[in-house]
């Protein structure tokens, strides 16, 4: 009887951990990956994709940067759409994005304090919404006195034919400050309470200064562990995808890491 109870608890925990988490994926094509054993930084980057388990829901794109060295890693991955000011040793930032058709792109991954860079290739989605639901999950680590806390955020946007629903959920145990913007100035926390931006695009990774990101984070929202920030906007217009900047900082407003995530908006 006790064994059965333990089994039920274990299965329940497993189901909960898998819910909404589609990465890592079983790659549909050869993943792009490389270990960079540089003299100053030692890390690995990885990019793969696989069809989403839900039929007609596009592909799941899985990327990560793992710090294999013994010191903090500062990296800026333009084509991977991720950055981190200080990734602790042994930890791995990951970005899981649900998107449309797969395409490949090349670009450098900048790392370290100088201008060291490594050539990379990534699998990325083409500019079209694949379905009526986009789920993105960004996990990163930062260095702290008490260890290396993990921060995990899930951004979901969906269209049900009558309106658009958005939710940003903090699935980690850390309270963080979050800035969610597009076009560099449009605060989506405020904008989505009234209307949906129609034509917007995220600012490329690395195109904003640390002070700009810090200012945006200070004006953003605090998200407690387990908290979800939902939005609902009524519109019957067909969906399209736009890119948004999700920047995360500590409670005192210091930028930690960020990524570019996609959401659905009405086409007109």
């Amino acid at each position: 009887m006790m064994r059965l109870l333990f089994l039920c608890i274990a299965l329940s925990a497993l189901a909960q951990s898998l819910a909404g988490q589609k990465c890592p994926v079983q790659p549909a094509a050869q993943p792009f990956q490389q270990e960079v054993p540089g003299p100053n930084d030692h890390f690995e980057w990885y990019s793969a994709y696989a069809p989403d388990p839900a039929p007609g829901n596009g592909n799941d794109f899985d990327r990560h940067v793992r710090n294999l060295g013994e010191k903090l890693l500062k990296y800026d991955w333009h084509v991977g759409r991720m950055y981190n000011f200080a990734l602790p040793a042994g930890q791995s930032d990951s970005l899981c994005v649900n998107y449309g058709r797969a395409n490949s792109a090349r670009g450098p991954l900048h790392h370290g304090r100088m201008n060291e860079r490594s050539p990379t290739s990534v699998w990325e989605g083409e500019d079209e919404p694949s379905a009526n639901d986009i789920i993105s999950r960004f996990i990163f680590f930062f260095s702290d006195k008490g260890g290396d806390p993990e921060v995990s955020l899930v951004l979901e946007s969906s269209f049900d034919g009558k309106g658009y629903s958005y939710s940003l959920k903090n699935t980690s145990k850390e309270t963080v400050r979050v800035s969610w913007q597009t076009d560099g100035t449009v605060d989506l926390f405020q904008k989505l309470q009234k209307e949906i931006p129609s034509t917007s695009v995220a600012v490329e990774i690395g195109k904003r200064s640390e002070s700009t990101i810090a200012e945006q984070i200070k004006q953003g929202r605090t998200i407690e562990p387990g908290q979800t920030i939902p939005f609902r906007v009524v519109s019957i217009a067909a969906p399209k995808a736009i890119s948004t900047n999700l920047d995360i900082g500590s409670l005192d407003g210091r930028p930690l890491a960020g990524a570019i995530l996609f959401i659905l908006v009405p086409e007109h």
């Binding site: 800026d76 304090r113 060291e116 500590s250």
Partner: protein, 140 residues
């Protein structure tokens, strides 16, 4: 210090803008002083503010020095000394950035301080060279 408007009308301010422009250009193409893209925006901000202040200071200072051969010689000497300090800070930047590129900073706050110092050190040679160039140009 004379009014900023009057000071900026001084044609020597243009010379002071040359290192500033070089610094911004370097930050975009980074051939001389390499810096991570994560700190480039902050570095350019510090560069523009500090170079503007340096040019204003240099114009003001040179206007206080008598316009005679002895005064010009004095300014050239100051200009040379400031230029050398600029080179020393350039070396300092490479030493600082290289050291912290190779060694760990395990504290997030200290990591931010190191970031700020690196961006300031990036801007400082260009700042000194801006002031130096303004002091070197003969006054009319």
């Amino acid at each position: 210090m004379p009014g900023i408007g009057k000071t900026l009308k001084d044609v020597r301010a243009v010379y002071g803008a040359i290192p500033t422009a070089c610094g911004v250009l370097n930050n975009l193409v980074f051939p001389v002083i390499p810096i991570t893209p994560l700190l480039r925006g902050l570095a350019v901000l510090i560069l523009l503010v500090s170079c503007t202040l340096a040019v204003l200071w240099a114009l003001s200072f040179s206007n206080d020095v008598p316009k005679d051969p002895a005064g010009n010689a004095r300014l050239r000497k100051y200009s040379l000394v400031i230029s050398v300090f600029g080179v020393a800070l350039l070396v300092g930047y490479f030493a600082f950035a290289t050291y912290f590129n190779q060694h760990d900073v395990q504290n997030l706050v200290l990591n931010g301080v190191v970031d700020a110092v690196q961006a300031t050190l990036f801007a400082s040679p260009w700042t000194l060279w801006s002031a130096s160039l303004v002091l070197m140009v003969p006054r009319k």
